[in-house]
């Protein structure tokens, strides 16, 4: 097909083959790793739901309606209402925005900064590497949530600060993994060649080394996505994360959901299911991605 096309279509042909290569890779992934494909499908559905929240949600997520307080799941409120009469389903739908924003934000920044630190540390080696490692050791000896709590206390709990608080504990974990893969890449002939060609450090790190740690980077990224969503819901549950009346899954489990758990269990069940499903999907996808890209990285 590519050969028979008119000469003017050359660019288009190139794009077409690239598209084909991609679609072939996607097809292989779906056929070879059905679990991963299911995970990816759930993630896509979640992204669509978050994007179209305004259209899909039957009610406004923050409007208080005391007439419908704590009503059971029914045809009007599919998943019932909470102690303020707010529709649980609508709050779940809007909550996916919070979860995905925090998840993607924290995972992307955390993995990227970690990757740059890890590669830089491996590339320069020597004393710089030693000091970076010691610094990472210090951060690593804090439990994830303790460090995140301390940072939230300092920065306050606006949404972007929450992302920072979740990102910072993740950076050293990523730097550690990336550094160990970068150490072997540093010895590759093409890095020597780049050095011999007189390229600067920045160029070698960014153009020659970073692209070659893409596999662990992507794996870490997907692993962090789930962890970030879990951490956000934990912080929100403690009342130190997202604040009322914003819809967030962890926040929905707080307070009234536990107090009225016996009479209105839907308030406690559904947000937890949403968190689990989201993290489950990311982990399922991430796992298969790891098997496909780099099965040796099992320590995540």
């Amino acid at each position: 097909m590519a050969i028979s096309s008119a000469p003017g279509d050359v660019v288009l042909v190139g794009e077409e083959t690239r598209f084909r290569r991609w679609s072939a890779a996607v097809r292989d992934f779906c056929v070879g790793r059905p679990l991963g494909a299911i995970g990816a499908a759930i993630v896509v559905v979640m992204l669509v739901v978050a994007a179209l929240a305004g259209l899909l949600a039957p009610y406004d997520p923050v409007t208080v309606d005391f007439a419908a307080m704590l009503s059971k799941p029914s045809s009007q409120h599919w998943l019932g209402t909470d102690a303020f009469g707010r529709d649980v389903l609508s709050r779940l739908i809007y909550g996916s925005r919070t979860a995905l924003f925090v998840g993607f934000g924290a995972a992307f920044i955390g993995a990227t900064v970690g990757a740059v630190l890890g590669v830089g540390s491996a590339y320069f080696g020597g004393r710089l590497d030693l000091y970076t490692q010691r610094l990472m050791d210090i951060f690593l000896s804090f439990p994830l949530i303790i460090l995140a709590l301390a940072i939230v206390a300092i920065l306050g709990n606006a949404l972007h600060n929450l992302v920072m608080a979740i990102t910072i504990p993740m950076i050293p974990r990523c730097a550690l993994v990336i550094r160990s893969s970068a150490l072997s890449i540093r010895e590759m002939p093409y890095v020597d060649a780049a050095r011999a060609a007189g390229f600067g450090h920045t160029r070698i790190i960014l153009r020659h080394m970073l692209p070659n740690v893409m596999a662990p980077y992507l794996i870490l990224l997907t692993a962090f996505l789930g962890q970030a969503i879990l951490l956000e819901s934990s912080l929100s549950f403690l009342g130190l994360g997202v604040q009322e009346p914003t819809a967030a899954w962890g926040l929905m489990l707080r307070g009234a959901a536990v107090e009225f758990a016996e009479t209105a269990p839907w308030m406690a069940i559904f947000p937890g299911l949403a968190i689990s499903l989201a993290v489950f999907a990311f982990n399922l996808f991430g796992d298969s991605l790891r098997d496909a890209l780099d099965p040796k990285l099992r320590s995540l």
Partner: protein, 317 residues
């Protein structure tokens, strides 16, 4: 090997010092201090003089480096001073809570090990069968389920199906073991499920790797009973990374169960940390972090020794 372990031993101290510096600085960046918070409750018109006097009582008027030196000097002699909020000695504040957190961590570890190792081994042996898929899905779900929510669900189920609630007041094990178990088994199960998921996955992948080794083929070729191959040749070698994961998770459980403790109304170290930060109780926050991080660092070091002990290849290097 001895040289390496000695070096690792010495490295523990700069890391601990780093942790001390980090938390000392972090908690002081948090806006407000304990004196303001406590006196703000009385009235808004507390004079500057009273505030200054109160601060002097806690040593907060001294230069920062001096406060740090005093604290580190005390901590080195295991004297963490007094809580700025309650005035009680910190060792008193922490004692019971440490016992609670440690017991919970040990119980969760027991739950995890009992579930994880058999499941991981079976899953690896029956790779790509429905058993394997079920175990894998269950363990990925375990990683995805927030422990604190699982705790809520447990309480809810007990309440709805058995009309019974676990005791909400903590009884130490040495006072009434039965009452103590009744209370702690639920959080231990909730946390243990997630924990076992981590360990199951590691057992499975380590087993898969080991089963492809030449020495397993040799063992089979010489006609060794499959049971012996598994227990003596495969599992023994696959266990090292599993031990690592279990130890690391265990070390984190001590201070990392903040939310689960909240759900079960357990006054453990995690919850104490949240309260201490809210009160800007500098001495308590510092002591807690130093203990939790120190525990982690020591467990890490102990793991290195354990490694050498378990694996002669490392011992004789």
């Amino acid at each position: 090997m001895k040289k390496y372990l000695f070096k690792r031993f010495l490295l523990m101290f700069p890391t601990l010092l780093g942790v001390a510096v980090l938390i000392f600085v972090l908690i002081r960046i948090v806006p407000g201090d304990v004196v303001e918070l406590r006196l703000a409750g009385d009235s808004s018109s507390v004079s500057e003089k009273v505030l200054a006097e109160e601060r002097a009582k806690h040593g907060l008027d001294k230069p920062v480096w001096q406060q740090f030196a005093t604290w580190v000097w005390g901590a080195m002699r295991l004297d963490f001073g007094k809580s700025m909020w309650t005035g009680a000695p910190i060792s008193e504040e922490i004692k019971l809570r440490f016992a609670l957190s440690l017991q919970l961590a040990i119980m969760a570890t027991a739950v995890a090990v009992v579930i994880a190792i058999p499941l991981g081994v079976i899953s690896a042996l029956k790779q790509d069968t429905w058993i394997d898929y079920t175990v894998r899905i269950a363990s990925i779900a375990g990683l995805a389920t927030p422990s604190f929510w699982l705790g809520i669900v447990f309480i809810l189920c007990l309440l709805i199906f058995f009309k019974w609630l676990p005791p909400m007041v903590y009884t130490p094990f040495w006072v009434n073991p039965w009452q103590n178990m009744l209370q702690l088994i639920w959080p231990a199960l909730a946390v243990g499920y997630r924990y076992s998921a981590v360990a199951t996955r590691m057992t499975r992948s380590a087993m898969l790797e080991v089963l492809r080794e030449d020495y397993i083929r040799t063992a089979r070729a010489k006609g060794l009973v499959e049971k012996l191959i598994l227990s003596r040749h495969a599992l023994k070698n696959a266990l090292l990374p599993v031990v690592t994961v279990i130890c690391l998770e265990f070390a984190f459980l001590l201070g990392g169960l903040v939310v689960t403790e909240q759900v079960f109304n357990l006054n453990g170290l995690g919850l104490l940390f949240v309260q201490a930060v809210a009160h800007r109780d500098y001495t308590l926050v510092q002591a807690l972090v130093l203990i939790v991080a120190g525990f982690f660092i020591v467990v890490n070091f102990a793991m290195d020794i354990l490694y050498a002990w378990l694996d002669p290849r490392i011992r004789f290097r």
